[in-house]
Symmetry: C2
Subunit: 102 residues, 2 copies
């Protein structure tokens, strides 16, 4: 199910930069983080509801604010993801994770 | 700077599924959401600090928990991102966003 849309992480971050970076950079990382948290709250509400389209929108919104915040502070989300998870779980280094249950 | 690592969103979600989905699904969406929020808190702390490697890790962790939560509830993060942001800002439908400042 995950193969239909071949959008790269870096492309998405670039796209969000083109849409929002100027105003997000002006707002700054602290206030942009506050917006990210607001979107996480909206995702929480959507998870409790029955509206699938809204649920998908809220996942996209959290992802978009995370990407924009990363851009503001100069983090390449794609590079960060590969560095952190490219060799499996960053703690036990296996796939699937074999850490003790948390 | 964002072109070095051509990792697709769907590949990342798939990778996180392979590492964590069995245990995350068992934990359920409510408790996995709680972990996502914990990671958002760690990102907040990293944003205030000076440790770049840790900052990148925290961005990756929020992204990973978001992807895993999406998998638990059957949301394709890549599809959601394209549907929501593929035509620019979802509110004003332009790039860059021309909505009134919030």
């Amino acid at each position: 199910m995950h193969r239909e849309v071949a959008l790269q992480i870096a492309q998405f971050q670039q796209q969000i930069e083109e849409i929002y970076l100027d105003r997000d950079r002006e707002r700054g990382s602290a206030r942009t983080f506050a917006w990210l948290v607001e979107e996480v709250g909206e995702l929480s509400r959507a998870l409790r509801g029955e509206d699938r389209a809204n649920l998908e929108e809220e996942f996209a919104d959290v992802f978009a604010w995370l990407a924009s915040l990363a851009s503001i502070v100069g983090v390449d989300l794609s590079q960060a993801a590969v560095t952190r998870y490219g060799a499996g779980c960053p703690k036990c280094h296996t796939t699937p994770c074999s850490c003790p249950p948390a």
